[in-house]
Symmetry: C2
Subunit: 134 residues, 2 copies
């Protein structure tokens, strides 16, 4: 199948498909006599794997690693795969807790402000940001 069909089948933009190829996420397809890319059906499932993996937070590089594991499943263990997702879960948890820290710091500043329509000359939000003490 040509790139346009693959694109509409998977919902992935043509440019993006070529980009994935350049990043070695999908293997280089055969070419028709006119030079057009000619994909096999397997590519669809690879792309679905990529989409799913993106959805659960993996980066393209991580997905590349995952794909390498996936195509050589028999040479890898469940332990290894589970460890991979564990690392990612840890990362996500870390990001969440960082954001929560930021949120609570900003909330604290936010709450002190009256929010009224008077001049901001004594606005507690601005003061909080000005103050040099932590």
């Amino acid at each position: 199948m040509k790139i346009g069909e693959l694109s509409s089948t998977t919902g992935i933009d043509i440019q993006t498909l070529r980009y994935y190829e350049s990043q070695n996420l999908i293997s280089k397809p055969k070419r028709l006599s006119n030079g057009y890319r000619d994909y096999s059906d397997d590519t669809i499932s690879t792309l679905q794997f990529i989409k799913k993996a993106k959805l659960v937070g993996f980066t393209l590089n991580e997905i590349k690693e995952l794909l390498e594991i996936q195509v050589t499943k028999d040479k890898h263990t469940c332990h290894e795969v589970k460890e991979f997702t564990q690392v990612k879960l840890d990362e996500i948890n870390h990001k969440i807790s960082e954001l929560k820290k930021i949120k609570s710091a900003l909330s604290k500043i936010h709450q002190t402000c009256c929010g009224g329509f008077e001049s901001a000359e004594n606005c507690s939000i601005l003061s909080a940001l000005e103050n040099s003490d932590d």
Copy 2:
């Protein structure tokens, strides 16, 4: 004070200080006869403002806006400032909830895997990513 001193006082890298200047976060300092930057003490508080604002999650562009508000406080209202932080809080909350969605999707996949040292040929994590159905 010269840039090195400002850098060690504030803990902000010299290159970063010049970068902030290029982005108009801090105003262009006077120059000594040899062309070296000569900062006034006010710059320190501006930089502390920037550091604090970064800590609570504002981007440099947002900080630039905040600084404009701050130097013309009297022409702005508390309402305006509070609205500004509210928008940011909403953004942060959105990011957190997105991450939580990702987390729960990944967790679900993660939990099904036995994590054992057998071959990953039937690993449920890989299967979950392969499956075309949502």
